[in-house]
């Protein structure tokens, strides 16, 4: 056999733990579940498995009836009891390269041992079992063990039974300091304090351990610790992830997860709220936030990308994540075709897809703000601020009402327009268009105002326009319209460029409802309005060019009789170059601010406005003739006028209004500061869902409706056909996977590997459970406990198996290198976040605030900028935090998917692009560089130095003991202490000789440096602390 094959066999054997331990008794019949299925799955299913489209020779080996049935050729692949007659055996033992199975080009040949297993299995009758993980969960009885004194909980019976079978001895219980360290990291993600270690070590009470467990479970740090793990699954991040990778606001979701763990929300509710919190009856704000679970996926807005493609990808990500997190199944393959190994079809993939397809979201989104749907959630302190502002506002309103009451007694002018005795000219537009008006016309947002050297008649500027053909500029919706009286004339001044005179010019007026009021001069080029009517009144020939000419238009002649108003004006020309200045009216009517001397005049002006800004009731009342108004309407109009417009009352009300406006502004500011979070919503009319042929969003296949895979438990009775129904299905106690997958994942958290090592794959390609009965027992217990998450954690950590010493016995290690049988306690490197948190805690720097927006610790400059797009987009350049934010736990560090925070990424933190179930744990030189040199860790070393120099201990040996204990939770052995003391002496001598070096070292980090301590002493201890923070033991849970 070539070496490669041998190697493959060796790997396969190790992947299946049972083979690497005791030899099977020869008589034991082959176990299909543990021995046969995986061979068939890995080597045969690709062509003879669940994917009907790829099925060869009509042979399907994942179902008994199909495997035993006659083939297309008439032969039988499997004849139970007779391997010689079985075509399968003939083919796998064939020496003919054309007929041997699996075919050579598949690259998956069978080993001799595998062939023997298959033969023996057929000879023994080809007994079949359905795949274990899809079977209902039944609670097994705890097995009887020989050493009945060892088990502390039923968990231990399952573990010990296997160890006894394998003739392995469990390790003794770890010592007290190791136990409190292990528990503290596992339940809070932080090392124990020195005082806690001392107290626990000294506590002889038999309940001491349990009390410690209860205390840690009750700590708010517990929620953070558990959330940290969940956020990997939820693929939580602070940026959108694709392409430009800009900022999004999702931290409220993170906060929800922490809180949910801390209040021990039952797991079933935890699932329902995250998948369908928005669909619960009268959902709370928190439940809506929880529904953001499936909004954590990446979002794109790359220029030119197809929205339909990305919308589809978002939903595919939701299906895949749901499958990994809750089903421990790999559905990703079924996006394009039926599953090769497990009983899931492509149709079923899109039936799940249909559940997530009804969110009112966009394929391309997130350019400036959170991708929709997103909501703002006022925080408690913001609510308090708002309440305070509202109270102040109410106080002002009270004063306003009091003043209005005073005006009740005063006579306010309210007679139809008090006319001035003689007409006067009122200029409406000179150097600016009227307040509130909106200007328009191609290229003249500024109304074409320009000053010298061009001709200007009045003021500093005139408006000008150069045109080919018909062209104009205009404004409308002036807040103070012109009031038109009897015999009034519009006035405008025009200067035609002799070098380029227009063919025709025109003035046009807007009465609030339209522009059908025109006056024209010159040729008949402008094709608007009806000739000889107010909509097109010809006044005369083109005025002379090269000088300012005054134009007058009789208002009545253009359809604007006395009592009407205009709020817009247009200057129009056909070709040429024209200047306009000093537009207005010759009138006896009050204009401008004097309109507000008189209620009736004000009402007239208000009625003429195209768009009223009055409150609705006043608006309505003002249109009714004064005599016909109700008392209520009368007082509404009058009060509004007095309060907001009446010139004689401004001095009274303006200051109050200003205060009110300032409060409104503050209120708006508070409201816009409400943090945002992306949430789920359901569209009123669901989208249709189709199978996407080969996963291509452009090729729609059959239409499908929401439903769940047939090979799993059925939907619960009455479950709605939406996400809520899907969630109810997942947490139905009959569901075979969710509880198993969940307890396995928690087991993995404590022991480094799950009972099923491939915690993300419980299918036929996944690993077999090392302790299948224990898995089922834990799952059944979990469901029966009411999905009590804290109870499950307690159950695990109370066990004897968890409490074992983690010392690695060479003989055991040879037998079971991965410690799958758990003949010793867990020992492995901490997660990146925990390493950060531990060093901050050890250095006395850790900030204990829970939740809130993400923070930006020290990071080498330029990392984001070098890859970023920059420009208007967020999260393109890094702005470091300062103060307390520098010392927050790793879980609050800003996660930019395109450029993850290096110290965490180096320690295997995933980039959160996709759901991550298991972090790999690597051990690399780059990790050493982080711990040795990252300013955050150097500063933590200085923090630790400050703690020990500031402690009650003054002798170096005592200080070494304290520092060592803070890092490892134990006292140093004498030889260890000696090494550290030697380093201290050496560094102290070095810094004494070179105090400048001490000063430099102590400057690392922004935390204040105590002036009371000797820099040389502090620097020497900082160096010692740097060593301690780099110890394997410091960054290991053992």
């Amino acid at each position: 056999m070539p070496r490669l094959l041998l190697l493959a066999t060796a790997v396969a054997a190790l992947a299946l733990p049972r083979h690497s331990f005791a030899e099977e008794p020869a008589a034991a019949p082959v176990d299909y579940q543990r021995e046969v299925r995986q061979i068939l799955s890995n080597h045969c299913y690709a062509c003879h498995g669940p994917d009907e489209a790829q099925l060869q020779a009509g042979l399907r080996l994942d179902q008994r009836e199909r495997a035993l049935a006659a083939l297309e050729s008439g032969a039988h692949a499997i004849v139970p009891g007779d391997s010689q007659a079985s075509a399968l055996v003939q083919r796998i033992t064939s020496t003919d390269p054309d007929t041997v199975m699996p075919p050579a080009d598949a690259g998956k040949p069978l080993s001799e041992k595998q062939i023997a297993t298959l033969k023996r299995w057929i000879d023994e009758g080809a007994k079949w079992q359905d795949h274990w993980s899809y079977q209902p969960i039944e609670r097994p009885a705890a097995p009887v063990v020989k050493d009945a004194s060892w088990p502390r909980t039923p968990i231990d019976n399952f573990i010990l039974q296997r160890l006894e079978q394998e003739k392995l001895q469990p390790e003794a219980e770890a010592d007290r300091s190791a136990l409190i360290r292990r528990l503290s990291f596992d339940l809070t993600g932080l090392p124990p304090s020195a005082a806690d270690v001392d107290a626990f070590v000294a506590d002889d009470d038999p309940d001491a351990y349990e009390r410690l467990v209860d205390r840690l479970l009750a700590s708010p740090r517990y929620g953070e610790r558990m959330a940290q793990k969940w956020l990997d699954l939820a693929r939580y991040a602070d940026t959108n992830g694709y392409h430009i990778d800009n900022h999004r606001d999702m931290w409220l979701y993170r906060e929800w997860v922490i809180d949910a763990f801390n209040r021990n929300l039952p797991f079933d509710q935890f699932v329902v709220e995250q998948l369908a919190g928005d669909l619960l009856p009268n959902p709370t704000v928190e439940q809506k936030i929880a529904s953001g679970f499936h909004r954590n996926g990446m979002v794109n807005f790359e220029g030119g990308a197809d929205p339909a493609e990305y919308l589809s990808k978002y939903i595919v990500d939701r299906v895949n994540t749901t499958a990994t997190v809750f089903l421990g199944s790999t559905l990703a393959c079924t996006e394009c075709h039926d599953h090769k190994y497990d009983p899931f079809t492509q149709r079923e993939f899109y039936s799940l897809y249909a559940y997530f397809h009804n969110v009112p979201e966009q394929g391309l989104d997130g350019r400036k703000t959170n991708p929709v749907p997103s909501m703002r959630v006022p925080q408690p302190e913001q609510k308090a601020q708002l309440a305070q502002l509202n109270r102040q506002k109410a106080e002002i309103e009270k004063q306003v009402q009091a003043k209005l009451a005073e005006f009740e007694k005063i006579d306010v002018p309210n007679t139809p327009a008090a006319l001035s005795p003689t007409p006067r000219e009122y200029v409406w537009v000179d150097d600016a268009i009227p307040a509130g008006s909106k200007s328009s016309g191609k290229g003249v947002e500024d109304w074409g105002f320009a000053g010298s050297p061009q001709p200007v008649l009045s003021g500093n500027v005139a408006s000008q326009r150069r045109a080919e053909g018909l062209s104009q500029h205009f404004f409308e919706q002036a807040s103070q319209p012109l009031l038109i009286g009897e015999g009034d004339k519009f006035v405008a001044h025009v200067w035609l460029d002799p070098a380029s005179p227009p063919a025709e010019i025109m003035l046009q007026f807007n009465d609030g409802s339209g522009w059908e009021h025109r006056a024209v001069w010159g040729e008949n080029k402008i094709d608007w309005g009806k000739a000889d009517s107010p909509s097109r009144r010809a006044i005369g020939g083109l005025p002379p060019a090269g000088r300012w000419v005054r134009l007058e238009v009789d208002a009545a002649a253009v359809g604007l009789p006395a009592g009407s108003t205009i709020d817009g004006w247009a200057c129009t020309q056909f070709g040429g170059h024209v200047y306009w200045d000093k537009l207005g009216i010759v009138t006896r009517m009050p204009q401008g601010s004097s309109i507000n001397d008189n209620q009736a005049t004000w009402e007239l002006a208000e009625r003429g406005k195209a768009k009223s800004s009055l409150p609705e009731d006043v608006q309505k009342a003002i249109k009714i003739a004064a005599a016909e108004r109700t008392d209520e309407q009368r007082s509404a109009v009058r009060n509004h006028f007095i309060r907001h417009h009446y010139s004689q009352a401004r001095a009274t009300f303006a200051p109050l209004e200003q205060q009110a406006a300032a409060l409104d502004k503050q209120r708006d500011e508070v409201r816009t500061a409400f943090p945002e979070v992306m949430v789920m919503e359901e569209m009123a009319k669901p989208r249709d869902t189709f199978i996407l042929v080969r996963g291509d969003f452009r090729t729609l296949g059959e239409k499908v409706t929401p439903s769940v895979p047939a090979s799993l438990s059925p939907l619960p009775e009455g479950a709605p056909a939406n996400r809520l129904g899907l969630a109810q299905w997942l947490v139905d106690p009959r569901h075979p996977l969710v509880a198993r997958v969940t307890v396995n994942r928690y087991w993995q958290q404590y022991f480094g590997a799950g009972i099923v090592k491939t915690s993300e794959d419980f299918g036929s390609q996944g690993d077999q459970p090392s302790h299948p009965q224990l898995l089922d027992w834990l799952a059944a217990e979990f469901i029966e406990s009411g999905w009590n998450i804290k109870a499950l954690q307690k159950q695990i950590v109370m066990s004897a198996v968890y409490r074992q010493s983690s010392r690695v016995d060479p003989a055991k290690h040879t037998r079971d290198p991965e410690n799958r049988l758990l003949a010793r306690g867990p020992r492995f490197r901490l997660d990146g976040e925990m390493i950060r948190d531990a060093s901050l805690a050890i250095g006395g720097l850790l900030d204990d605030r829970i939740g809130g927006p993400s923070v930006a610790p020290y990071q080498p400059p330029g990392l984001w900028e070098q890859v970023g797009f920059g420009g208007e987009f967020s999260s393109q350049s890094y702005t470091q935090s300062h103060g307390r934010d520098l010392y927050r736990r790793g879980m609050y560090v800003y996660i930019k998917r395109a450029m993850p925070y290096p110290p965490l990424a180096t320690f295997d933190a995933p980039n959160r692009e996709v759901c991550t179930d298991r972090r790999e744990r690597t051990n690399t030189p780059l990790q050493a560089l982080v711990l040795l040199n990252d300013p955050a860790f150097v500063e933590a070393a200085r923090g630790l130095a400050q703690r020990i120099v500031g402690s009650e201990f003054s002798s170096p040996p005592e200080r070494v003991n304290l520092a060592f204990k803070l890092c490892t939770s134990r006292m140093p052995r004498p030889e260890e202490a000696q090494v550290l003391l030697a380093i201290y002496d050496e560094q102290r001598a070095r810094f004494e000789k070179d105090p400048a070096a001490a000063e430099k070292l102590l400057k690392v980090g922004e935390s204040p440096l105590p002036t009371s301590m000797s820099p040389v002493e502090l620097a020497a201890w900082t160096a010692v602390a740097n060593v301690l923070l780099n110890l394997d033991e410091t960054i290991t849970k053992g």
Partner: protein, 482 residues
């Protein structure tokens, strides 16, 4: 069993496993047990230090330098001469040519897709006479050393998915890059530097994402390590102020002593791995600054690349790539940004060519003169090509081109590649491949092949599936192999 025996046994077991479980761990143990043992050149040419254990074929290339031109350089204006297109400038692209090809949202709104000829004249270079644009005379000068593939094609039409696809075999995030696969499969042949190094240059233009040198579902140690021209060359490689190298060594000795004591007491081989990782970290503190310091290169070499010590540029990165090759780093990936010329193509293309041309050619010449080209595969290219029609209006010296996945040009040189040839043909519009198409997966299969790896057999089990770089496709392009 003594600890020493135990560790030896552990080492044997892991060696048997091809170090798949904890690759570096095995190396660490090896050197822990025998400090004289170098993890350098394997005696057996088929031995791989990574997960493969054994290469599938005799490797033609020992390492890869991939000059990735981010944004999508225009094949029509650089490598794929289309005289007919010049004549057709201003005419509409026939539907019979477009054949329903997806168009990005940037040009899908244009009422007409008007063709536009190359911005600069082409000329024949070298003895082989390969036609390339006049704007890349230096690359032209190594025409006889390179194989120009004009028929690469890919699936995506936007940057993020296209880069992801070409480097990971899949458009969506989550899979390892070519460099990560190499590091995983082949392991490191270098004791002082990481096996997968990334260098960035160029500002503006399309953004980059760490995913482009990411490890995907592979363990984190297989991700590319960024080497930088400013600040720490490798993040955190410098000691803090106040800790000089001697002090660092002394502190590190303390760490190592204490870790050895802990190893004695606990027996966990992971501690041995950590001890070795710290030694390599220490070596990197010397080897990395030494590597990055190009000031001692001769004036002639600096000039050949156009490199300037202390600057950050593509030229400097090319020179660094050669230095990394000399130190036997397995996979060096350069990214140079700003080849996305939707508008102002003639001037932008020229500017980019000026930044890349000289150094790209210098790298080939320099590797060659040092006898390294034969064992180093050099690749030059972007994520897709550009359209034969203009994005926006065409004027005398201004037009733009949109993304085009149906065909584009890249070139390869060195280890195992037939020099002085062109491969594949596109139609007269530079729009469709006419013959010898090379799909992205074929390209990937070919690169792995040159490294001695059968792309179908370099797999990693993730979520129940044995994933590979080439997904379910990929054929080695035999015709371009030397």
């Amino acid at each position: 069993m003594t600890l020493d025996e135990h560790l030896r046994r552990e080492m044997t077991r892991r060696t048997l496993l091809g170090r798949s479980a904890k690759g570096l761990g095995a190396l660490a143990l090896a050197s822990l047990l025998n400090d004289g043992l170098q993890a350098a050149t394997p005696e057996n040419p088929l031995e791989a230090l990574g997960a493969l254990g054994q290469l599938h074929f005799a490797p033609k290339a020992r390492r890869v330098i991939y000059l990735f031109m981010s944004g999508g350089p225009s094949h029509i204006d650089l490598y794929d001469a289309k005289p007919k297109l010049k004549e057709l400038t201003g005419e509409e692209l026939p539907d019979s040519v477009r054949m329903g090809q997806r168009i990005t949202g940037m040009t899908s709104g244009q009422s007409k897709l008007l063709m536009v000829g190359p911005a600069y004249p082409f000329k024949k270079y070298g003895a082989c006479g390969t036609e390339m644009s006049e704007v890349i005379p230096h690359i032209g000068s190594v025409a006889d050393d390179i194989c120009l593939v004009r028929s690469l094609h890919t699936d995506p039409i936007n940057h993020d998915p296209a880069v992801t696809y070409l480097l990971t075999g899949n458009q969506q995030p989550g899979r390892p890059t070519l460099g990560a696969w190499s590091a995983y499969g082949l392991g490191s042949v270098n004791k002082n530097l990481p096996e997968y190094v990334v260098l960035l240059s160029g500002g503006g233009g399309q953004p980059l994402l760490a995913r482009y040198w990411g490890n995907g579902f592979l363990p984190g140690k297989y991700q590319g390590v960024q080497f930088r021209s400013t600040g720490d060359a490798v993040l955190y490689v410098s000691n803090p102020e106040g800790i000089d190298p001697a002090a660092r060594r002394s502190l590190l000795d303390g760490v190592q002593k204490l870790n050895r004591m802990q190893l004695e007491a606990v027996g966990d081989p992971e501690i041995a791995t950590r001890i070795d990782a710290y030694e390599m970290a220490y070596r990197m503190q010397t080897s990395v600054p030494e590597l990055m310091d190009i000031s001692k290169e001769s004036a002639g070499v600096l000039q050949m690349y156009g490199a300037e010590p202390g600057k950050s540029s593509f030229a400097n990165n090319c020179l660094l790539a050669r230095r990394l090759a000399e130190r036997d780093v397995r996979f060096v990936q350069l990214y140079h940004r700003d080849w996305d010329h939707h508008g102002n193509l003639p001037s932008e293309l020229k500017r980019q060519a000026d930044q890349c041309d000289r150094a790209s050619a210098a790298l080939i010449k320099d590797l060659k003169q040092r006898g390294l080209l034969d064992e180093t595969l050099v690749i030059w290219g972007g994520e897709f090509g550009r359209t034969s029609y203009s994005q926006g209006a065409i004027s005398a010296n201004n037009f733009g081109r949109d993304h085009h996945p149906r065909c584009f040009s890249i070139w390869m040189a060195g280890g195992g590649i037939k020099p002085g040839m062109t491969f594949g043909q596109t139609d007269e519009f530079g729009y469709n491949v006419v013959s010898d198409g090379v799909h992205a997966h074929d390209f990937q299969a070919t690169v792995l092949h040159l490294l001695g790896v059968d792309h179908k057999r370099l797999t990693y089990r993730f979520q129940g599936r044995d994933f590979r770089l080439t997904d379910v496709a990929g054929n080695v392009v035999q015709q371009i192999l030397a």
